[in-house]
């Protein structure tokens, strides 16, 4: 029986290693500076993912600027203020938001932002990603804030600090490393999102010039190249995947490294 459970684990880890090594092997071939800085070109002319990388960075920045403060505030509310029935209801709502499939979030943002604006935009994509980010950040912030010992709060209150001072000046700085790692994990998760971007930011073949236009992103570009019938684009999809995986895995490994002493 021990062998069986060990076998399950070996298979799972093996699957991970197979996928990662295949990405590395296939992706290295098409990776070069020109690939990383050029815009997509017609089949046979090369081209690259420069605009997709920039687009992903723009979308991540946009969603972080909207989603991180909002998520941290919700986390602070759930941990410090929300008590009783209303706090329980808000916690339930945040948990609901965590479980919503990202494509439904995309449909919602389409209905609320893209339809009235009459065009796809980076704003819509950023807001869709922020909506996915907020519940994750809120939950981890709440967990980290709950870990701060009550004696810290009581000490600050005893010294006469008002409640907002206690939270902003004592509790949040004490939980700051945990909140930061939660934010990094949320960013890693959101950087891999494709479905909500399919009909909010839509995608583009040019470098972004304005936030009111459709914008390319790494994930949507990988998707478009993967389902295309051209081998050259398949190779570019693998290389783009390598870039994406470096980012995502990098953040995850750094976070794990930073939190290793907490366990």
């Amino acid at each position: 029986m021990t062998g069986l459970t060990a076998l399950c684990t070996v298979l799972a880890v093996g699957a991970l290693l197979i996928i990662l090594s295949y990405i590395a092997w296939k992706g290295i071939g098409a990776l070069n500076i020109q690939f990383l800085t050029d815009v997509p070109r017609p089949v046979g002319e090369g081209g690259g993912i420069g605009n997709a990388i920039l687009g992903s960075v723009v979308l991540l920045l946009l969603s972080s600027v909207i989603g991180l403060p909002l998520g941290i505030c919700v986390g602070v509310y759930l941990s410090e203020i929300g008590r009783g029935r209303f706090g329980g209801a808000v916690r339930f709502i945040v948990d609901t938001l965590t479980g919503i499939p990202s494509i439904v979030t995309g449909v919602f943002v389409y209905a609320v932002l893209v339809l009235p604006m009459k065009h796809f935009s980076a704003w819509a994509g950023g807001i869709a990603l922020a909506l996915i980010m907020v519940p994750i950040v809120a939950r981890t912030t709440e967990e980290m804030l709950k870990l701060v010992p009550h004696s810290l709060r009581e000490g600050a209150l005893a010294l006469g600090a008002p409640q907002w001072r206690v939270t902003l000046g004592v509790v949040i700085p004490a939980a700051a490393p945990g909140i930061a790692t939660g934010a990094m994990l949320a960013i890693a998760r959101v950087s891999g999102e494709t479905a909500p971007l399919l009909f909010t930011a839509f995608g583009s073949r040019f470098f972004p010039t304005s936030l009111n236009e459709p914008i390319a992103s790494l994930t949507v570009q990988i998707y478009n190249y993967a389902i295309s019938p051209y081998d050259e684009w398949h190779a570019q999809a693998w290389a783009a995947t390598l870039v994406l995986m470096t980012l995502v895995l990098g953040i995850n490994i750094v976070v794990r490294f930073l939190t290793r002493k907490r366990f």
Binding site: C8, A12, I93, T96, I103, V104, R165
Partner: protein, 332 residues
């Protein structure tokens, strides 16, 4: 009245107005602003979910009025004639998720038991991290790997074997293309395993050590003791499985790329299928006409409600087990 600040009552010095006192027990202005801000943010969250439900309902009203409950039972998906029915998508979503769970749950349980009960501490942590890393891989990457690695592998090696050995079952009849319900189910299983195993690990760790010691003290073998632990954590394990189900139901990109995208119900695992999320992803930007778009939004509404219920059940079962690091999830 004697408590009013405007009164000339000398007994009340520095009295705060009532609305400020209602907002902040200490009467501090900063506190009042802080609490108002936090309340506003919390209300914003509630407002967003309410807005989501309203937006989904209102945009699918056209389709609801046109088809009524027949939408859920009709098998026709004909954009040209304007006849839409959700049954093929509901079947595809449920079938692919069930296949994923059937494959994933034994593996996840095995991994969790190995990591909690058997592996030494220095091994469990890095291995656990590696298993959780499976959850960090974006969905589109799984889809890419599925199209170019898994599907050919299944098409050339596994599916002919299955067709040869079990071809008499309706499950294994039909054309072998490598892209179909089976491939979709396997990819979903790989994606869902880290989530189920992570939650089951937490559940098993939460079982008190006294239970294990009691079983061993009564003369149980190691595996009988593990069975006691499993029974003890059964609600949590059920919750983990249902949580995995919730994830599998909403999974979009990887499934879209390998499931074949044909809106027909077929008993064979080799045949292509179509899930709700894939339908929305594929056809949303190409929907011509309001009824088409409205039907797609109604599909989204169905998906929203189903995942809401499933996640709610999972939460009730696992409510005591929280993930300390949270957020190690996977993107769709």
């Amino acid at each position: 009245m004697s408590w009013a600040p405007e009164s000339n009552n000398p007994n009340f010095v520095g009295q705060v107005s009532t609305w400020r006192r209602a907002l902040s027990p200490t009467g501090n202005t900063g506190d009042a602003i802080y609490r108002m801000l936090m309340l506003a943010v919390a209300l914003l969250m509630v407002g967003i979910v309410v807005a989501m439900v309203i937006a989904l309902l209102s945009d699918s009203m056209l389709s609801i009025r046109q088809f009524g409950f027949g939408f859920l039972t009709s098998q026709r998906w004909d954009p040209i004639k304007g006849e839409f029915g959700a049954l093929p998508f509901i079947y595809g979503t449920v079938a692919s998720s069930l296949i994923a769970l059937l494959i994933s749950v034994p593996f996840s349980l095995g991994i969790a038991i190995f990591l909690v009960e058997q592996a030494p501490q220095w091994l469990a942590r890095p291995i656990g991290f590696l298993v959780e890393l499976l959850a960090a891989i974006p969905s589109v990457v799984y889809g890419l790997w599925g199209i170019f690695v898994l599907a050919p592998f299944l098409r050339n090696h596994i599916q002919p074997l299955l067709a040869g050995a079990f071809g008499w079952l309706p499950l294994f009849k039909g054309q072998i293309t490598g892209l179909g319900l089976l491939t979709g189910g396997i990819i979903l299983a790989i994606m869902v395993t880290p989530i189920i195993s992570a939650v089951v690990r937490d559940v098993l760790t939460a079982v008190p050590g006294t239970q294990r010691e009691a079983a061993l003290a009564l003369g149980a073998t190691k595996w009988e003791m593990i069975r006691v632990v499993l029974v003890n954590g059964a609600p949590g394990i059920a919750g983990a499985v249902i949580l995995g189900l919730g994830r599998a139901l909403g999974e979009t990109m990887a499934v879209t790329m390998v499931i074949g995208n044909r809106p027909e119900i077929s008993l064979s695992l080799f045949d292509p299928s179509y899930t709700i999320a894939s339908a929305i992803a594929n056809e949303f930007t190409e929907a011509t006409g309001d009824l088409y778009l409205s039907s797609l939004v109604e599909l989204g509404l169905i998906l929203f409600l189903v995942t809401f219920v499933v996640n709610g059940i999972a939460r009730v079962l696992v409510w005591n087990v929280t993930r300390k690091t949270g957020g190690v999830g996977r993107a769709a």
